[in-house]
């Protein structure tokens, strides 16, 4: 274990305040960030693209606003990393796939526009499992990202690049996407905070779709407060996304430090078996810490939640198989020629997609195909209802639920990539809340005996972000400082 704690370049809130007040320049903050990137990127490979020039221009623009006495916004000068499945106008957006290598969107995702309007400075596009399918970032067509805590191990996935960028102190804020755990699991493996909001709270417009009824964009940061600030800036209704809830952005910061006195917290027993000892112990310890802080902590059994994994691995690939049909070599991206259009399509997709993507497209196609729809997709949508009902029942007795974020700490490269089922099991604790559309957050809470970070997951009912983040803040306050990043490898 060679990773050591590192200060990073500052907190989101701190940087924004300092830049707004003119105390420091956005340019200088960016300099620090880019220097750190230059130091560590060769070892970690967090980025598919680093947009230094554009970032300088953005930072200078922020400084000009401050100089003119204007307010650049709540994220003034904050360097931010964006997962490479978020569309950024004029900047290659590849989903870490050969099929989109070099493609430049002609528009910005809504989240990206909102970040820029808030004064944030995008620094680059981060690596991911191809098309967000995976739990280790090993499925990237451009090589894996390494965990800053131990570079022989994975950072988790699919948002591994964003997680590692924050965990190594390159940027204080990053954004990823979460479909079955792709923000929370890497957050846990990298010792940082990762939030998946309620489905519909953050606009999906410009997020390259994996599974439409599950995908959500969310923030990574070293602290709960920073993550909350990031989420507040991007959340809220977007008319360009029909699934976006007609609500303003949730207010999280105001009550963040109100404590957990009287809050009813349920530890989900079903997720305590089949996880590694350190992950189980972290949850138990977390429960004790919250009880000591005045919460009412109890155990609860919700066996229906275990249906989540198999239901997810039908629904997500089914929607993905349709969402990924558009990559056909006709309008953009890779084209591998053929004597006719159909052959061209098949060759393009055969060469452009990696094996995990192909597996999921095929499972999804199979699950939707004639004769199998009812047995697989139809049943899975019903299993989804059972999961939602089970949560509803639980939330009558509890305000939030507590589980491990993921069954293990960061694992070595190559140890699961040949066994798809093993890899899918990484998501067993995070999937149920995705199916229900509920919010969830991973908070770094402990270190394993080998010194690797262990996260604990807080689940809340739909639109329960406020209580969820309040509990997360309490957990953070009770956690040992060395359990969280940033670290230097």
């Amino acid at each position: 274990m060679t990773a050591r704690q590192a200060p990073g370049i500052g907190s989101v809130a701190g940087i924004a305040a300092a830049v707004r007040s003119g105390e420091i320049s956005a340019r200088s903050v960016l300099q620090s960030s880019l220097e750190r990137v230059a130091d560590l990127e060769a070892d970690l490979h967090c980025f598919n693209a680093i947009t230094a020039e554009k970032a300088m221009a953005d930072a200078d623009a922020v400084d000009r606003l401050v100089g003119s006495g204007l307010d650049p916004g709540p994220l003034a000068g904050v360097p931010v990393a964006l997962k490479d499945n978020l569309c950024t106008e004029g900047i290659p957006t590849t989903c870490s796939s050969r099929i989109l290598a070099g493609w430049m969107p002609p528009y910005d995702a809504t989240v990206v526009s909102r970040l820029r309007c808030a004064g944030a400075v995008p620094v680059g596009k981060t690596n991911l499992d191809e098309f967000a399918m995976g739990s280790s970032t090993e499925n990237s067509a451009f090589g894996p990202t390494r965990n800053p805590w131990d570079t022989t191990r994975v950072p988790g996935g699919s948002s591994g690049g964003s997680a590692a960028a924050v965990a190594s102190g390159m940027v204080p804020l990053a954004f990823g996407s979460d479909t079955g755990g792709s923000i929370r699991q890497p957050a846990s493996l990298c010792g940082i905070v990762g939030v998946k909001p309620t489905y519909g709270v953050v606009s999906r417009y410009g997020l390259i779709a994996f599974a439409s009824s599950l995908d959500q964009i969310g923030p990574f940061a070293a602290t709960v407060a920073d993550a909350a600030l990031g989420l507040e800036v991007v959340a809220g209704h977007d008319p360009m996304d029909s699934t976006s809830l007609d609500l303003p952005s949730p207010q999280l910061l105001a009550s963040l430090d109100d404590g957990v006195s009287g809050t009813r917290i349920g530890i989900v027993e079903d997720f305590l078996s089949d996880v590694s000892p350190e992950c189980r112990e972290a949850v138990v310890a977390a429960g004790e810490a919250l009880a000591a802080a005045g919460a009412k902590v109890d155990r609860v059994k919700i066996p229906e939640l275990l249906l989540g994994l198999p239901a997810y691995y039908i629904i997500a690939p089914a929607e993905a198989s349709s969402n990924l049909s558009r990559y056909d070599g006709v309008r953009y991206g890779l084209r591998v020629d053929g004597p006719d259009a159909e052959t061209m399509n098949a060759r393009t997709r055969g060469e452009g997609f990696g094996p995990e993507v192909k597996r999921r497209i095929m499972i999804g196609t199979y699950a939707l195909s004639a004769g199998y729809y009812d047995a697989y997709y139809g049943q899975a949508q019903k299993a989804r209802t059972l999961v939602i009902r089970a949560f509803e029942a639980a939330y009558r007795s509890f305000d939030v639920l507590l589980t491990p974020t993921t069954p293990s700490v960061a694992f070595p490269f190559g140890s699961k990539v040949d066994d798809p089922i093993q890899m899918y099991m990484c998501d067993v604790c995070s999937i149920p809340s995705s199916l229900a559309g509920h919010p969830a957050v991973s908070v770094p809470f402990a270190l394993s005996p080998e010194g690797l970070p262990v996260g604990v997951q807080v689940l809340a009912p739909a639109l329960g972000e406020t209580v969820m983040m309040r509990v997360a803040a309490s957990l953070e306050a009770a956690a040992p400082r060395q359990a969280r990043g940033p670290v230097t490898p």
């Binding site: 528009y107 417009y205 349709s322 309008r331 195909s369």
Partner: protein, 482 residues
Amino acid sequence: MTEYETVVGLEVHCELATATKLFCGCRNAFGEAPNTNICPVCLGLPGSLPVINRRAVELALRIGTALNCTAQRSIFHRKNYFYPDMPKDYQISQYDEPINLGGFLELVDGSRVGIERAHMEEDTGKTTHVGGGGRIREAGYSLVDYNRAGVPLVEIVSRPDISSAAQARAYVDELRSILVATGASDGRMEEGSLRVDANVSVRPAGAAEYGTRCEVKNLNSLRSLERAIGYEVARQIALLESGERVAQETRHWDEGDGRTHALRSKEEANDYRYFPEPDLAPLVPDARLLAAAAEGVGPMPAERRRRLSELLKAGPEPAERRDGSTTDQVVTVVDLGLDELVHGAVTAGADPHLSLARAANEAAANPDAAKLLDPIAFAALLKMESSGQLSATQSKEVLAELMTHGGDPARIAASLGYEQMDTAALDSMVDDVIASNPEEWQRYRAGEEKVAQFLLGKVMRATKGRANGKLVAAAFAARRSV
């Protein structure tokens, strides 16, 4: 030789006359430069999402009402298949929960054709095949224009109630009128606003089971539709008569050689893997949508024809029918949107049959101008004709002038010199002609009707056409009986 009956079901795709596309704000327009009305959504760029156009929903509901369908809660489904004109390689359509269910359409002759459903879906782009004479099978490559991709469509599916090529044509004709009348479509088949596919099968007369059906595509006009169905029915009958089976397949109508051709057979039927569209919320026809759908929509063609016919029953039967049958006139007048004019004229005192005739024949020559005619002025003119003040010829001329420049019929008549000839002058004319044509007059008095025309003609020539034929004839008749 067995008697066969024809069974036809029609699928009509109707482009909605909205300003923008179904899921995005790109312009919905025909004939513009390729790929100039595209955006991330209708191009299906990664990360794009659809948002439903309210007006398209209103028009879809409107069509459903016009076809007597039941409007219901509906959702969109994805229909998955690969084709270069499909930006997402799936089409957002409706499957088992469409917006309009059931219904019927009444043809001009009073027969009814059932409607299964009328659902919403997005249109595809347009492919042009290059090389090999523009036909797919021999083409070298294809070029795709996505201007049309995402244009809102309503697909109207009839029950297989149509039993002849002629009836199929009548169905599409009436449907087109209805769609235009609702304002949902501009009805321009030649621009692709309306596209028809026909499902054709035959069976021995009286048989209970349906025969195997073939889908016939590429029907670009009413004429093609009728010809293609005729050909296809004959083809299928010939097969059955020679002991062979009809293969279920899709066939392409070739206007050039007047036949349908089987397309390259596919290894397997398409499996569209329909599933509910996760990016869109369900549609519920609430009060607001239904009100907007109904707003400003008048009665449908069938209803208007009925009302016009009712109007005619009220007046006396005309002495002669020189200008075509009443039924044809009713159809024409409604088709051209001139029925309001006729109603207005009749309300102002004009004779119903005369109003109808003049509207169907003369006014129809310039329907756009005719729509602007003031019904009161029209009525005044018609009354002048009915009372004999103006001859038919004169009336038509005044009408033409009225349509071109508007104005007052009496003044126009005067300016054209169509003033009424005073009775005394007329009488003296008549007497003059009698006096100068004694032999013909004797023959007329003896009862020879034919010679009346001769005498009439003399007066008309002498008065340079100013005399009112009816009055002249009456004058002769009066003298005869003296």
